[in-house]
Subunit: 436 residues, 4 copies
């Protein structure tokens, strides 16, 4: 890419509470990544938030003194036209839909989670058609743009984009960079001296090699794991014997699969105490927007870090920087499998280390894939592929097969009852399923 | 093979109640498969049964007037030496061990089953070392013999033999021939005019093509399934919507995976009413041996068919016949995957259609593998491979990983408690796990 | 297939001198393969021959007393409509084009051969567009028909049909059945007791296993090879040391690759003595048609067997019989590779043993692929794929890459000169290359 | 690696005329790659040269003022013990053997070349057993060392080391770095802004992507190629039409395959004019050693650059630097294929872009593999694998299959005659072939 006068960036879902993070990222990285225009775009229902966060963005840029123009719009096509990078961070159905994603499974004694299980499945089915629609606009209006997808469930959304559009897209999650940061702090070593090998899918990975300054630290990390955990997964403890022989440091999302009983109990208890996680998050967000609305505020408030999406912005800016400057550094991304994992289809999205060149990421070969990860990876990928098919076709039979295939769903009977309720609750967002 | 004076057959576990079946098979197929010596071999603990069933075998042969000599022995090596075919049908730990395989998981609210789940895992760990021991004898005493393995869990045992011995072995199950018979009767068409394509593992297959006289009958079979079921799996009904979109007629063992809740309820109820299935089978067997002991009896009694292993003998004799006569017919067998299923290792055993030539079976390519089968196949194969490794090494950590990997085991916690109890109960049969 | 009143067969290129063979085949196999209508179709330029051979066919049928009607037509679509089997045996450009295929390379000191080398390449480029045109008619007029392709180069034509049409097609060659017949006679053993494993491509195979009545005969066949050879390849002798370590009995066409010098010398000498092989064949054909025209003749004349295509008819009738009756026997056919040879694309056509079911052939896994065959197979397949692409696009650059890739072409310079001459000579048959 | 007091390097074949290059490299890169001990080791026959070049090395180090100690030895084991990096640059049979490698094929009208064709085959068979012997020493005396192999034919030697030893080895060639340098100069752009994708084998690669500052320059480079060529391959011109459609910039060694006739003519002419290339090189070397012997000389003389091995030292030092410092930059190396090229075995060595981490190189996936490269790559790899087998077993039959498989060898007859002569001439260096 060669843009003499700087880059155009479009952030779809620009009214998100995360936006100040990415604005800060652009300001800090301006020298390497010269942003000329930043377009924040949202839908009508998000207009109010867009304005609040957009004004904060403008104040942040003004304070920086950089020649970045911030545009707020409800016209997605205008934002996309001629963009160099487009990032998406949206929530089809808003927090209300998430609430049901989490709540309805719980009512059936099943894990209710935003990105996996029946909840994640509904989110995928709401989101994929919208993203494919955005992709059509990009194909038409900025065919050379990179689409950086943060929208969850990022693995399925990325795979759908890869298989059903011609847009150059990459999926991103903050968990890998979070681990790197945690290791860097723990071992007091710069991240560039730490090599971590990720194997698996988005929100379903194992870290199978960790070398700090050339020393293999995986055994000690598996042996007495000081917990590294995300903000959005409760901190139930791993069984020590199990962890030691697992062959890789598990993503904290894997607790839903390995300690289903304890995690469910935790969910039900938390539900009783403070409502669904969606409701908790909603309250945090409301508080954030109160802060954002303060016209004195000219920077990202500290409180945003509690929100759970730490490093999202850094991950995004790192990726844009490497694509723009052909940095060829290693980042952990959601990309097409190719021949990386020999047991998955070539067009399956996986989460894996990549070298990021100016022409895009190249997935690195994995050097260790513990036997015990394979079955679970493939079981979840099977669910993911059926879910993508259901999202695109609106076929209830396929949706049933998808839900039954999910390892957290205990039986066909449970799946059938739950699917029926969830489809009904999501009716406004699933037109393909409710064609007359 | 060219044996001018007939074949030597060794049946390991010859004191089994199934033996009259296979004796009948040899008598009926004598013209194609000229058996000269039939060696029934068993262990000391089975001597009494061996004698009863062996005497019956002798009376059956006598009645046939064929020049087959029946040998009863506790000396395995003598039976193996120079044999052409060796079949194994044994039960390490006898019915008592099976009882615990079924009962202990039930106590933890988990499916208790002889060939899958934690029960099947224990059975595999008891059986694999014994079979590998037998394989060593064969390597030494009859290296060109075919080992036909009926011993459950047949998939894992066959894979262990393939990977850890040099013996030519094939795994056999009666389910595929049972389905063929059922279809043949239902459509009033000879089996040779019916083509069924099997995809999956032992006790975990889907029949993804069924053509009767060239007509595709799969849709109608999936649509209103008149139940085809084994004797040893209760007849819970499939959900019609689910079945219709499943893409293949499921093995009845798949009910444990798809309707875990109903199957568990059924097990617990049946347990209350009549004890474990092992106990029920034990009673049936005792009755059979009473019949066998009758010196007037000169043929296989009708009651044996109720025992659950229908067609085992026919499957075995068919296979020997095709190997001996290079028949090149299609049989469904447990063999090395090779490049048949592209998502499993080449050395994984699978259950698949083969052409049986004089040099052994050649796996046929599969033409349809429904997406929804892949995750479950790979999840179970992962458990199987870890189980085989545990069986061979006696490593408790690997055994824990194996049990956790099984889709019927709900969590690490449950696996850990159950594994500990089950290992303890199986102590006499698991020397590798209890090395001082 | 279920045709109460018999089958409709269309033979495209029905005016061929081989036609009496296939007519005889239908008569002999009538009980298993009840042909009701036999359509012989040819182009205007072949009308005279069609009439001669068609009348002979009618006399042969009449003598047999069977209720088969023989139709002669120039209307291809009429012949194809509703057909059950369509076979093609044609020669685009007739003998004249073949003459140049053989002669022009010779003028440059390069092997001139009908089915391989630059000559085979031209033949492929003339033939593939015509076959794809026929395939379009079949898609429309008899979509369930099987297309049996005998038209050379059969491997490339079959691959083109598989990749660029939706017709169910199978490629056939008489070399494999010829070898079986030769072995059967040599060892005085019925073909059903002989197992031969073929590895490779059409006219480029190695027979890597030969078991006669269960005994491995490959070593002795490689050791002092009594020559098995085709009518159309001169009988230059194999080097004994080379053959012994080759790992498989080579197709006689492989002499062009392994003994290029001797074969070229032989061609140049024979050219001097009796003209091109095309001219020799032409004379044989003229004599055959003189015989055919005799109204007394009511059967296939013995002289036809000298023509070089022995067993073509038997191969064709065997294949139709197995498809029609779901015989599940093993035949060596040209089919899509699938996962058979792990180093070729899945959509490459290969020549390999198949089980022929009612739904089509299933390629059997190969059990031995000698290292030394792989490079040559892949080199020729590379040439084949580029040739297919050139045939379809009419792109001269790709044609040049194809010719350079052929192992019998010594350099880019030679390829360029020869290609230019050959394209010019084939102008009437290569419209794609001469678009204004 | 963490060596507080610096690295130990062993250069096997340290008496080579190239040694001053690598010494210069260590001096220039001292800050990143702190060499403490440099061991130059050679055999008895090379003692004189070792002393000359070793003294020069000492003078160069002395002038630099760095604390590097230079050791000269004939005791290989002493040099290897505890080394961190071992590089090999040797010539089994010296220039005399090379002379015959080049000359004997020419006498049969076949390309005579040091690293490919029959000459390269002999060199491989002489070299592989010696390298495997060195590998055994390394396994014992410095099992964590990296073996950097420059010894030609580097592809085959590297593959042999990978398959038949446990040493961590990487093969290196100066051609890729040479191309990078050439591009960098031509486009006046730093190498770090140029991305070149290599596909193929050592001395048999195509560069299928060339992006300079993000702009695709491949088409223009293929269109009017200003020649980039090595010192040791004559500069015959590529055919423009051919090159344009080749899909990748060919290695200059590919001229031997694509323009065999012209290259052979050039060889024969040059042979007449100035003797074999070995003899030419010998004279250049003699002159170099005269220079080296001058006690005034304290640096690498300019004349060395004419010798043909430009950038070898830079390639070596780059690689050591990246391994030592975990640089994760991209280098083109000879490594195990893994799943990079889907048509070659996983254990085949290929020449491909790698990310060099502290734990070794990771091969990057290839994004474009032109169809026309595949056949030739596989044909040469087939020859290479048979050659490796012959080198290890000393089996003449396999050696014959290897030579016949080489695309530059025209027939079995020629191969047999030439092989016999060449084996005889190499008798002192091929003990495995001349066991009594």
């Amino acid at each position: 890419m060669a843009h003499k006068d700087g880059l155009k960036i479009a952030v779809i879902g620009g009214g998100s509470s995360y936006t100040p993070e990415i604005v800060e990222g652009f300001i800090l990285r301006y020298e390497q990544l010269p942003v000329r225009e930043l377009w924040l775009v949202d839908i009508e229902a998000g207009k109010h938030k867009l304005e609040i966060v957009g004004e904060l963005a403008r104040r942040m840029v003004a304070k920086s003194g950089l020649p970045i123009s911030v545009h707020l719009t409800l016209d997605r096509r205008q934002a996309i036209e001629g963009a160099d990078f487009i990032s998406t961070q949206m929530r089809v159905g808003l927090m209300e839909a998430r609430k049901w994603d989490e709540h309805l499974p719980n009512l059936h004694g099943i894990i209710g989670q935003e990105t996996t299980g029946p909840g994640g499945m509904m989110k995928a089915m709401r989101t994929i058609p919208v993203l494919l629609d955005i992709a059509k606009d990009i194909e038409e209006l900025s065919p050379n743009a990179w689409l950086l997808n943060f929208t969850n469930p990022a693995g399925m959304v990325t795979e759908a984009l890869d298989r059903y559009s011609n847009v150059k897209s990459i999926g991103l999650c903050n968990a890998p960079i979070g681990l790197q940061k945690w290791l860097s702090k723990k071992y007091d070593t710069p991240a560039s001296r730490i090599y971590s090998e990720f194997v698996g899918l988005n929100h379903l990975h194992w870290v199978t090699r960790i070398e700090v300054d050339g020393v293999n630290r995986l055994p000690e990390l598996l042996d007495k794991r000081e917990e590294y955990s995300g903000k959005n997964v409760p901190a139930t403890e791993w069984d020590a014997d199990f962890l030691r022989s697992l062959g890789g440091l598990p993503s904290y999302y894997l607790k839903y699969f390995y300690m289903t009983d304890a995690m469910l109990a935790e969910q039900l208890e938390s539900l009783k105490a403070s409502g669904t996680r969606a409701e908790v998050v909603k309250r945090v967000e409301d508080e954030l927007f109160e802060l954002y609305a303060n016209p004195e505020l000219q920077e990202k408030p500290k409180q945003l870090e509690l929100r759970g999406g730490a490093y999202y912005s850094e991950a995004a800016v790192n990726l844009m920087d490497s694509l723009y400057n052909d940095r060829r550094d290693i980042q952990t991304l959601n990309v097409r499998n190719g021949r990386t994992l020999d047991f998955l289809p070539e067009d399956a999205s996986i989460e894996v280390n990549c070298v990021v060149t100016g022409q895009g990421p190249l997935a690195l070969p994995v050097t260790r894939v513990p036997e015990q990860t394979k079955g679970l990876i493939h079981a979840v990928k099977t669910y993911e592929r059926l879910t993508i098919e259901a999202a695109i076709t609106g076929d209830r039979d396929i949706a049933l097969q998808a839900m039954v295939s999910h390892p957290l769903v205990p039986s066909v009977g449970a799946a059938k009852r739950l699917l029926s309720e969830m489809l009904e609750k999501n009716k406004p967002y699933l037109p393909a399923f409710f064609k007359s």
